[in-house]
Symmetry: C2
Subunit: 659 residues, 2 copies
């Protein structure tokens, strides 16, 4: 509470309600290089003095602050906008002071409106202020400023009072004095506030997930890393820049699951890649059937040459055959009979998986080993990790692990695959996850989509949570995709790719695979438990649509920014419309989607012209980037008509008229 | 940010978003003894373990925590409600852990729904949990609990699994195990959160302000402290429990202001009491014309015997004749010509007042002297200070001064007379002011009153800002009171006295004094500059109305609580209706006011029956406590009709039917 007795130099200005600040600065705000960061603060000072204030910022590792002036917004709120240009940890703080010059000139101007006759003392006060500023400039060897200030000081006592504002209140003098303020009574916010600047891909990325073992689309031949290149090239051709592999490590034999998650497997069945660890090794080994570590490194390099990063799955699961079980039985939960506890969510049992005990006696070794695993793959070229079920491991562990990795590799990206309760999902974003899975997969109606996208991009979450929208995953074939037509696959892809800045699909989506395990939100004959036969160019695929979608994303800056989403009213509630506008206002994209994948839907949509920089009644052109069509619109209300069989969605770019 | 490497024992539970917490705990939440404090927190834990958690609290000066269990609200939010019983500084914190017993019994019950046959290991796990709990009880010499737990442990392995829930999942066993949990892996919130518990009068008080020198109502004879007792008795009879005096110190002669704020005064004019300090002394002296310090102490005692506290004005202004000017010229702002700077707000000048420079070189002495002044009056019996213009002195000074006073006298009340910008007003509440003036004085329409009362009592401000509503002050005769009828005086008094818990009037209000200085919101012939002639029982006074108002306040617990205000919809926008319900729901008051002071207004009002604990279509009785009438109402919609000439307002008590 109160800073205590009459010993410390007292604050002259109250600094309060700094934003953005996550839980009082306990967690960092996130940005990417070049993204603007607008900081606001209340500055409160007794009396009538004029305030001045700066925002100060630095890399966490630096001692040198940069500064930008804070400007009043209204009602004692001040703000400044900066852009951080380098990946890593940053700090900002606020410094504010009563500005002697501003107070003097402000009071002087008001004195002139009264009946005062003798201004000699006021002029002398001013002279001293300018003279002191000159001395400060002189000390810093700013000779030209020092001379200008000295001559202003010298001339002041002889200046007729009525001429003072015109000579001493100009923008030039303001700027000059702003360079040499007396900050000896300044108050500084004591706890610098954290910002984490991520690799740009943390904000903007397009993911494609496939199982390397099924890369060639054969149900009988296990593919290898060397066989994966065509699949990666196909993903790159579709415009994806991240290819994510389920775990590539040796798969356990004990309790190996069979086809469709059967509790026993037949000889030769490959098992679930998430049951990690066997005679061939654990988390730092590769499944022999996929090839060697060298093969993997070769693939990472080949992919990178094609503009694609390979993301690995970091799944902290151990099969009963994992080397840790023998080497560190104390890292696991032991039961009274001496056995190791398998994973369960009673009455469900997962005998093929042993969870680690992160709070065991020897937790330090365990945590360090996990860190070593991540570093191992980083040293093999991996820069992106998709983390499996992070919500079943301690939050404190992730905060520590991500913090350690960032000390040496600040550009590494961790995607949290936490489909769990909202507060856990948010917390994983707060403690450092760069991207997160979301409930998008289950948001269907206009109301649901608007509400959820608003929560993610317009509330406090936008400062620390970066939503990665997945229409499907190997675990989830949502009801609306089950036996659904192509239009649904196009619709959900378009929504995922334009509502958020990161999106991803699990392979097969582009082929509109839609067969569910009866009564479940899961795939029939799930690839998790078997090799999967596929014709990657099967007729009826939507690869061209996806390619165009990713191309539009790449080419339009508005779709690279996260929290610039605004919805557009439409009379027909099957029509969802929104627009995104980039920070410098050079690119505006309007998306209009027909949420009905069977019937044509039509509606007037009501554009907020003023917010979009258009005059009332303006005539303008929008270009459909998906279908290469042009519409001439006028005023706020414009008619749209979408037949899902050929056009489930418009993706329109506002064409600016030449000046 | 992250708590660092693998050295500290890691947190097992994430504790987050504690509420109420003002600016992350920088400022204290306020309560009074007996007032409930509901604390909420997000508790987040990986996996499926069952959590348990406690709220812990103590006096700031104590080392011993008290504890109450936190209960889940929803969505990982937990809460507990406590009542703090002693004035002073308190701390609370949160401790949470994975509860082994709850997790075990929860999992056991779910296991029974599956196909498991052998439960011996699960039973043994349970046995160990009960046995360990027995040992903990034993260590604390809780023999009976230890024995019960030991016998539960002993019986468990032989218990048929199907019988386990009925024997080991009972409320009795839950309660027993809740007394002896294993908290060795508990996580505690590291920074205890502050609560300030005030004297009850900080929340509930009725103020009456008068100038002691005009106590007898004579324009020619200066009254003394000894003459003030009848006025205090009259105030007590009207139900006021605080009588507030403008400054009682010697008044300066230099630049003394004359009648109606004239810049020169005539011989014998008394001057403004806010121009403090003269040959007879400064802030620790009394104006000789009022009597002696002994007389003042006598009056404080006499008032207290009548249930009234005398509040002093703490106005840090010095007249040019104040002893400080000679003794400590360095405490003031010096101008270049060696003169001391008088107060001004250019082009306005206040030559009779020198402001102190709280950031002067010798600020420590100055601050300590101000502390000495407050302590001086405390030692003379003063427990309440109304602070004049606190927003023109540093916030850091007030935070320090109030903090110092509280170390010895935690029951002292400071009322901030800050009519200034909203954020400064709020900040003064945050740093410790127990009560604050407000904009109520200028809120007139239903919309304005509802919006403002909602901001004060329903948002975050309710945790730290206690509004004292004043219809008038010696400085302010608002436009709506100028030449206004008695009904307006009754209306504004009733609103002030029932919308907030503290209210006050400046004397003359009860006489409906309404003559303004032309064109200003000020009184004609302001008592600030002259002795004032008055007949304190002048015909047309509203003393009886005010007496009844304060009696109703005193007798109805609903009007003692601050943040229990809810508005009631009324079809006619000149009708303002609201209700207040006390914490234990024993007393419900409905206020219906006619904001039109000239014409009768009628309306249906729509009572929120469910929120008021009444069934749909219920018939009930309301008793008008002001006019001693009874109405029989039925259902949500009831008709009201108020003629301002005799009844500007209903103050209704819901009469509960006997069971």
């Amino acid at each position: 509470m109160a800073r205590n007795p009459v010993t410390v130099r007292p604050d002259t200005v109250v600094i309060s309600n700094i934003a953005p600040l996550i839980e009082g600065g306990r967690y960092a705000v996130k940005r990417v290089p070049g993204e603007s960061l607008c900081i606001e603060v209340d500055l409160i000072k007794d009396g009538h003095d004029q305030l001045a204030a700066v925002l100060k910022w630095r890399k966490a590792s630096s001692r040198v602050w940069q500064e930008a002036p804070l400007r009043p917004v209204d009602n004692d709120r001040w703000s400044a906008t900066i852009v951080l240009d380098e990946i890593g940890e940053w700090r900002f703080t606020i410094e504010a002071w009563c500005d002697l010059y501003l107070t003097w000139i402000h009071d002087f101007e008001r004195r002139l409106t009264g009946d005062q006759e003798d201004f000699s003392v006021d002029l002398e006060e001013g002279r001293r202020i300018f003279s002191a500023a000159s001395n400060r400039a002189s000390l810093k060897k700013a000779r030209s400023d020092a001379q200008m200030l000295a001559s202003l000081a010298e001339d002041l006592p002889g200046t007729p009072p009525r001429e003072v504002p015109a000579k001493y209140g100009t923008a030039v003098v303001h700027a000059l004095m702003a360079r040499w303020p007396d900050r000896s009574f300044a108050t500084e916010w004591k706890t610098p506030c954290p910002v984490w600047v991520d690799h740009p891909r943390a904000r903007f990325s397009s993911w494609y997930e496939f199982f390397p073992r099924s890369a060639e689309g054969s149900a009988t031949k296990h593919s290898t890393f060397r066989d994966c290149l065509p699949r990666i090239e196909d993903a790159a051709a579709m415009g994806f820049d991240v290819v994510y592999f389920p775990p590539i490590h040796p798969i356990g034999l004990a309790h190996r699951k069979g086809k469709n998650n059967a509790t026993t497997c037949l000889p030769g069945e490959p098992g679930s890649p998430w049951a990690i660890g066997g005679p061939a090794g654990g988390h730092c080994s590769v499944e022999p059937a996929l090839g060697t570590l060298k093969d993997f490194e070769w693939l990472v390099n080949q992919a990178r040459k094609r503009g694609v990063e390979i993301a690995l799955d970091f799944a902290i699961n151990c099969s009963p055959d994992h080397p840790y079980v023998k080497e560190h039985p104390d890292w696991f939960h032991q039961r009274p009979d001496g056995t190791i506890k398998y994973a369960e969510n009673p009455p469900k049992k997962y005998q093929d998986i042993y969870p680690l005990n992160f709070h065991c006696e020897d937790w330090k070794s365990l945590w360090n080993e996990m860190l070593r695993v991540v570093r191992f793959w980083i040293s093999r070229g991996v820069r992106i990790f998709r983390v499996d079920n992070p919500h079943t491991k301690p939050v404190s562990f992730w905060e520590w692990l991500i913090g350690e990795i960032r000390k040496t590799d600040p550009d590494i990206i961790f995607l949290a695959e936490a489909f769990t309760r909202p507060k856990m999902m948010r917390m994983l974003g707060k403690i450092g996850y760069n991207q997160s899975y979301t409930y998008f997969t289950w948001r269907e109606t206009r109301e649901e989509l608007q509400e959820y996208a608003t929560e993610l991009t317009q509330g406090e979450m936008r400062e620390y949570y970066r939503a990665n929208f997945w229409p499907n995953t190997p675990d989830i074939l949502p009801h609306h995709l089950q036996n659904a037509p192509r239009s649904m696959f196009k619709l959900r892809a378009a929504l995922a790719a334009t509502l958020s800045t990161s999106w991803g699909i699990y392979s097969g989506y582009e082929l509109c695979e839609n067969a569910p395990l009866p009564g479940r939100e899961e795939y029939l004959d799930s690839e998790k438990y078997q090799l999967k036969a596929r014709d990657w160019n099967r007729p009826g695929n939507i690869k061209q649509f996806i390619s165009r979608l990713n191309a539009i994303r790449r080419e339009n800056a508005a779709l690279h920014e996260y929290s610039n989403l605004a919805f557009i009213p439409a009379g027909n509630d099957r029509i969802l419309a929104y627009y995104k506008w980039n920070d410098d206002r050079s690119n505006l994209i309007i998306v209009v989607a027909n949420l009905d994948v069977h019937l044509r839907q039509e509606s007037f949509i009501h554009l907020p012209l003023a917010e979009m920089g258009l005059g009332t009644g303006a005539a303008f052109t929008v270009e459909d980037l998906m279908w290469e069509e042009v519409y001439h619109w006028k005023g706020a209300d414009n008619f749209v008509s979408l037949d899902p069989r050929n056009k489930p969605v418009h993706i329109l770019r506002l064409v600016r008229r030449k000046a």
